[in-house]
């Protein structure tokens, strides 16, 4: 799993639009270039980035070499990100519990001066 490459590839709006188009079915580079005000070489460059990130594969058909969406890196990236947020929240909740313990231990060791003063 190469998340850096996945994130870098997904950071560009044109590349995300290409992936959205490919989610409807495979397409040739020409077909992909149509809706964008971009030259075919410019689109090809974006496709190369997506290919290197494992997000797009190219068919064997020598003429068309259709592009198709590979979903595994997206699933990996998404799983990783969701996991990350959930991990943060779960850790902090556990830390709440630990801090209560530490506070109780401290109170036991040193009877609170607050009470003594009153």
């Amino acid at each position: 799993m190469n998340l850096d490459r996945t994130f870098a590839a997904l950071a560009d709006p044109t590349r995300r639009a290409i992936l959205a188009r490919l989610s409807l079915g495979e397409a040739s580079v020409n077909e992909l270039a149509e809706p964008f005000a971009m030259s075919q070489p410019a689109i090809s460059k974006h496709i190369k980035v997506l290919e290197l990130a494992g997000l797009v594969s190219r068919g064997r058909d020598a003429q068309r070499r259709p592009c198709r969406l590979e979903t595994q890196p997206l699933a990996d990236a998404n799983t990783w990100l969701e996991h990350h947020r959930a991990v943060f929240e779960a850790r902090f909740e556990r830390l709440d519990g630990l801090l209560e313990e530490l506070k109780a231990e401290r109170a036991k060791r040193k009877p609170t001066p607050k009470g003594a003063r009153k």
Binding site: N2, F7, N78
Partner: protein, 158 residues
Amino acid sequence: MSDMTLKPQGDREIVVVRAFNAPRDLVFDAFSKPELVKRWMLGTDGWSMPVCTIDFRVGGKGRYEWKSPDGQHGMALSSEFVEIERPARIVHKEVFDGTPQPVESTITSTFAETAGCTTVTMVIRYPTAQVRDFMLKSGMEHGMGQSFQRLAGIVEKT
């Protein structure tokens, strides 16, 4: 008190803020003493933290390793302390294992106490704006992450 907020700052940073009902020296200890870190910095779903070593001084290194409950999966990161200001501030760098080009993030944690309650602010600085933006848009704010998951779902059905 237990609400965690997560928001962007500048073009390369994410800020996580969370308040804890404890004095800041205790919170600071919980962030810097390995025997305490080991007790809360675990993963979800029963992931354990068999390795947690912290050489808590400027230039000192940390090593954190996690294992899934079945022992089949692992995750690890190495850290290095850049600034330590007890009990107010820690700056450290982090690199996860297994990334072909190491992506180093710098985390600045500050601890502010008001009336026995400590607010921890973690500023996570990513190497590029692209990485940061994707982190925010997709997973953390539940926006694009879900749409990509939906997209993946659509494709799997066809």
